[in-house]
Symmetry: C2
Subunit: 303 residues, 2 copies
């Protein structure tokens, strides 16, 4: 029988991904687009059950560990931010109200930083997963994505972090701005040149962006080159601003494969020692580590 010991859930703004695990092995995996952003509070439990109901044995309680935006104020249950410096994970976990007696759901807290004001929710679990797999590791973890995070880790704690709007800016500019007429596809050369330009003169970002449109109009520039250059300009500007993070450090990049490789390639040109790691693997390792924070007596939640 393929009955999981517990269920891991990565519940972001736009997606829900779940895994049924037993003795460290993934028995089941499912996903839906019922992210936090599309749900009212009452919608979380049905959204979860829609994916995992078939995995649950009748006579017992299955623990569910959740990370991500489901723990925000607008989520299933608010898991308050923990203030850095602190370990990436820490208790108590927030228990989510649910009616199904087969479920006991706990949500991981995010991290907050007072100055400069910043927050993390979801990536702290990946950081914890990385540290669980690399005990004693000190350095900087870069988590590229919609909101890129740079996290300084020392002695098992998150010391500080910084969020960049890079991914969201790329999506807005390439899909909703005047540049959308000029970008499509991907040509590596454009990325490399964009990173170099963005790094060299990050303060010229707002001007460089329009040049993508002008080059399309005046030079008939290849849209694949243009789109990769747009990405490169933004990531280059991010790398320039993140210099206090990566300078003199080793960097572990955790993210989707292609995006991680793009960042790693750019960091390598700066002579930064860099490794890349799969985001899903780190999320699962982090949620596995979070199980240690569960209360000794797992009670079914009856609300």
């Amino acid at each position: 029988m393929s009955v999981p010991d517990w269920i891991a859930a990565d519940w972001g703004t736009s997606h829900l991904r779940v895994w049924g695990l037993k003795a460290g092995q993934v028995l089941h995996h499912a996903a839906s687009d019922q992210g936090m952003g599309s749900l009212t509070r009452a919608g979380f439990e049905p959204a979860l059950l829609a994916l995992v109901a078939d995995w649950l044995p009748d006579a017992q309680v299955t623990p569910v560990l959740v990370c991500g935006m489901a723990g925000s104020r607008q989520g299933w249950v608010e898991a308050p931010y923990r203030a850095v410096p602190c370990t990436p994970l820490g208790g108590p976990l927030a228990q989510a109200p649910c009616r199904d007696l087969r479920l006991s759901v706990h949500v991981v807290s995010g991290l907050k930083q007072a100055k400069p004001a910043d927050v993390i929710r979801g990536e702290e679990t990946q950081v914890a997963g990385f540290l669980a797999q690399n005990p004693g590791w000190d350095g900087v973890i870069c988590l590229p994505g919609t909101h890129s995070k740079w996290v300084h880790v020392s002695a098992g704690e998150v010391v500080s972090f910084q969020t960049f709007l890079t991914g969201e800016m790329f999506a807005l500019l390439s899909e909703a701005s005047v540049l959308r007429h000029s970008v499509a596809g991907w040509a590596e050369e454009g990325f490399t040149e964009g990173v170099a330009q963005g790094m060299e003169r990050p303060e010229r970002l707002l001007a460089r962006l329009f040049s993508i449109r002008a080059e399309a109009l005046l030079e008939g520039r290849d849209p694949a080159y243009a789109r990769a250059r747009l990405s490169g300009l933004l990531i280059g500007a991010e790398l320039a601003a993140a210099k206090p993070y990566w300078l003199g450090q080793r960097v572990a990049v955790i993210g989707a494969e292609r995006l991680s490789l793009n960042y790693a390639q750019a960091l390598a040109t700066l002579s930064v020692p860099v490794t890349t790691h799969d985001a899903t693997v780190m999320t699962l390792a982090g949620l596995t580590a979070a199980r240690a924070l569960l209360p000794d007596t797992e009670r079914p939640c009856v609300n």
Copy 2:
């Protein structure tokens, strides 16, 4: 009888504005949202007639002078870019095909710059209007808007220019990004502080943007302060990048009143001598100047 000598039209991507003029006086004014972006080629003449048909005397041809995106490749008729350095206006004007014998429509050319690649379409007319009103003026003209333009003018010619995506970026970030939850209204203090921060460390823009969201979450920051700060950060970053334009120059700001005052205020803190000028007045002055470029014999256009 209020019959205009000619008609001025400012035809942008999203709007059409027309004025009926006689002996330098505005007799009529009308506007619609039938911008270039919403029209096929066949739609321009009906969109114009919808606003001006009642102004046209039957027995004669009324010249119409058009500036803006109606002259782009996707517009009514392509008015090819003229290469800088050159005067802001120059012939020949492009004649738009029309069926109504009462109309003779000509469109002003935009400007192009090879390196760095850049284009202007519409603002060249405002620059021409400003120079018509201020003959012999040398300096820098700043035209804030969706795509802000900085234009270096010397001896009656546009020497160089630079476009910034500032206004479009503000619209996307404040209306379509994660920041939209945190910004509403306007508090002047936020603008002033944002400009200072954006100017001082323009390379940190992508990081500073997310701090607007984090401050809302952690500090319950006033959305009016946050929205003004967002605008200030972007304009501050633009001013930093435009330094080669304004440093040691006098600057004339041409734009919508409030936006122009924001730019002027920011420039004044940099000890830049600055004046502000109404965009509509400059557009009308520029189109008036463009009349000198019309062919001697105004023929009705018969397509």
